[in-house]
Amino acid sequence: MIVESYRFFGLHVRRRRTRRAIMVVYWLFIALVCFGFARHEIHHGAEEFGSMAAFVLLLNIGNVLGGVRAGGMIKPYSDVHWPPASPAPGDEGELTLFGSGRRTGASRRGVLDEREKNERNGVHFLAYTLARWFALLLFGIYAAFGWAHVAWFSQIGPLMVFLLTLVLWSLPQSIILWSEPDVEEVL
């Protein structure tokens, strides 16, 4: 499912070791952003800057990791591309509901085959399983802080929503990038 030609700051993503290093850096960066966000919120209250940074970060996740949209390290999960791709010559394409995308049936590039669809489905099940336990953990922490009447209790809610959204948006891609073998191993 990896887009072999993709380069992350010049690094080939064909090798699993490289992808794992990218994932470690990515999640460390997320942790740093969350820590800074939390400190900022706790000391100064939620402000526009933190919300805008979070919003920009969320928008960029799909574009770097791929999966949810085209252009990242992983092929798009479905053959409906957003933003809509220009149809190839002779390919009339088909507008999907609400014009959200266009099926590009003529080109196989980037389209998942049966193995990749199975992998996608399996990874999403695993990610959902992990995410629901993570959500339970977040709720437990939130409830504990509320019960303890922590002074900044009201400010950690947005951070938890942000964390959960990040996990839901990027965990499947992270699992794929972490576990997919080197292309050379498969050949």
Binding site: R108, D113, E114, R115, E116, N118, V183, V186, L187
Partner: protein, 94 residues
């Protein structure tokens, strides 16, 4: 490439001769992948036994090689082709 004498069944418990057939006919993974409509990495996963094909894909591969499906896929390890063609080596030839 898994040897025919010790073919890898992988996780799905299915043995196959795809690598041997490709080597015999000088077909690349990309050629086979294009012919059966999958990505070439999937052919690698199939050969290693790390992925079990759907019925449709298995039949597509069989049609491509013009062989019956049981000549390509099996739930039991394949005997080496040399044994199948020439029989088991006799005791005095070992």
């Amino acid at each position: 490439m898994p040897s025919n004498e010790n073919p890898a069944s992988g996780e799905n418990g299915l043995y196959n001769r795809i690598a041997v057939l490709r080597a015999e006919r000088g077909i690349s993974r990309q050629d086979l992948a294009d012919a059966v409509g999958v990505n070439y990495q999937t052919i690698g996963f199939l050969e290693r036994g790390d992925y079990g094909p759907s019925l449709k894909l298995a039949f597509s591969i069989a049609e491509y090689f013009k062989l019956p499906i049981e000549a390509i896929f099996s739930t039991q390890p394949f005997r080496p082709l040399s044994e199948q063609v020439y029989g088991s080596p006799r005791e005095d030839q070992r």
